[in-house]
Every structure is written in structure tokens, then in C-alpha cells.
Subunit: 138 residues, 2 copies
DNA sequence: GTCTATAGTAAGGCAGACCTAACAAAATGT
DNA sequence: ACATTTTGTTAGGTCTGCCTTACTATAGAC
């Protein structure tokens, strides 16, 4: 089974690969503030699980299975982050930070409900209403 | 620092102690479906951290520090569980289960906002409105 | 009072996620 | 081309949280 730690690695690999260019192990090490050796181990494990193709300096590629796995996590991440920032009015950095942690533990049913609820709130302008109330309280 | 695992142990100890009577290590083992020895280790660590007073068969007591720590966790738990069940309309068991996991990773700012937002939604009957919409969709 | 079931501890192990230090190989600078 | 980074791996360790097995101490049953 994929662990929380590996999910984080896979997520960043997917994001980098789909957005721009290549990603190196050392970049991940910087991003997560961990030792290069820790990244090395993690990449080897992801490769063992057939989620990425890892050939050291030759680069990191994502497999179709890895892509599916990554997309699941990213979907959760986005739903959470959107809810925090757009509905609750939390600043983006904090929203992202919390989404990053919660995405690994929350279950499907709750995530789906949060999504539907977020859409509902935007449609009914509940977010704007809430922020107004919230600002007045200060 | 207190870990997620220890937070869970402390939480159940606090809950049992404040609700009914005594709690034994073996009860915790059943509750969490872990071996007695695992509980034993955890209790010793909690005692080392001065969060509980543990004297084997003589029982488990919670220290004032432990109480404060436990209350923090329980507060988060309740805010999350209430939001999931009362606003999103998720059933209690699932709400509890998710609250249990998220309470260890979410930060203060987000939790506070969720609380304020939950109150706001109840006041404005947004929860009822949401459930109606949700039911019609099915 | 003995004897059995229950509760707790100790010892030894495993996996995940991290570390440092030492080293090899490749890329870069000049 | 050669020296110096930079990048990645290996080896050896730590810590947390869990396990099993085997042992001890106690509480209750009879």
C-alpha cells in the first residue's frame, strides 16, 4: 500500500511533470526539506510499486498507474484547498498547507460532500455573505 | 513533542475518565485493536511526558497538563465532527472516523474558521437548505 | 487457599520515514 | 582537460508504532 509519505512524493512528481519539465531528486529534497538520501529511498520504493520510472540522473517519469494515483490525491487537495480559501476565506498558503496534510487521511465520502457543498456555497454566494459577517465581527 | 498516536491514547483516556470511571490498558487495546504491549509502551511514554500518571494495575490518571492537551484535541474533534454531520449531513460514524484522523493534522486557524462557519451555517439554516438541494439531486 | 483467567511487562522484531557521513559519477566552470 | 561542484547511492543509525511470544503478578472462582 502507498503510504502518506509516498503520496506526497508522487504528488509533487506529478505536479512538476505536468506543469513544466523534469524533476530531479534533489529538487524534491529541497521542496520537502529532507536529505537527498531520503528522497532516493522513496523514489526507489515508488518505482518498486510501479508508480514511477526512476533511472537516477536520467530522470523521473510517471507511469499510467502513478498518474491515476496522483490525480486522486491532487483532486482531494484541490477540493480542500478551495474550500478553505474560497469558502472559509483562509489565505492560500495556510489552505495549501492544511490541504497537504488532510488529503492523506480524509475519506472519499467526506471529500465528495465538501466539493458539492463548496459549489453550493459559491452558487448561493454564501462565501461572500460569510466573509461579510466575519469582517464585521473583527 | 506529542505524536498523533499518543494524542489518540490521551484522548480516549480523557474521555473515559471524564465520562465514567477508570480505564485500563487492556480496554484501550480493545478500543484501538492493538496489542496490550503496544498500549503499555504508549502509556509509559505519556507518563514520561507528564500527561498521565500510570501505575500499572493501579490505574491511569490524567495530569492537569494532560487534561489541557486532551481538551485541545477533543475540541478539534468536536468542531470537525459537528461540521461533517450537521452541515455536510454525513452520518455520525463516518464523521467521527474522519474527525479522528484530521484532528491530528489540522491547524488552529482552520479549525477556528470551521467553527465560526458552522455556527454561521446553522444560524442561517444553510445546512437545511443544503440538504434539500442535495436530496433533490439524487 | 489454590488455581485459572486476566492484566501488564519485557524482549526481540519489523516497517516507515527520517538522519549523517562517505563515496561515486556526472555536469560545469575555467 | 582538469578541478570543482552537484547529484545520487550506500551504509549505518534513530525514532515511532506496531507486532508476537513468553513471562509475572494479581483478582476472582471455587
Amino acid at each position: 500500500m502507498i503510504t502518506k509519505g509516498l503520496e506526497d512524493y508522487l504528488e509533487i512528481i506529478y505536479n512538476k511533470i505536468s506543469s513544466d519539465k523534469d524533476i530531479k531528486a534533489v529538487d524534491i529534497a529541497h521542496e520537502f526539506n529532507v536529505a537527498r538520501s531520503s528522497v532516493s529511498e522513496a523514489l526507489i520504493r515508488l518505482a518498486d510499486m510501479n508508480l514511477i520510472i526512476y533511472e537516477g540522473r536520467k530522470g523521473i517519469k510517471i507511469t499510467p498507474e502513478g498518474k491515476i494515483e496522483a490525480q486522486k490525491i491532487i483532486k482531494k487537495h484541490k477540493i480542500l484547498s478551495d474550500f478553505f480559501s474560497e469558502i472559509l476565506g483562509i489565505d492560500l498558503a495556510v489552505s495549501e498547507e492544511n490541504a497537504c496534510k488532510i488529503e492523506h487521511v480524509i475519506n472519499e465520502e467526506v471529500i465528495e460532500k465538501i466539493k458539492v457543498f463548496t459549489d453550493f456555497c459559491i452558487e448561493k454566494s454564501i462565501n461572500k455573505q460569510f466573509r461579510k459577517t466575519n469582517d464585521n465581527d473583527k
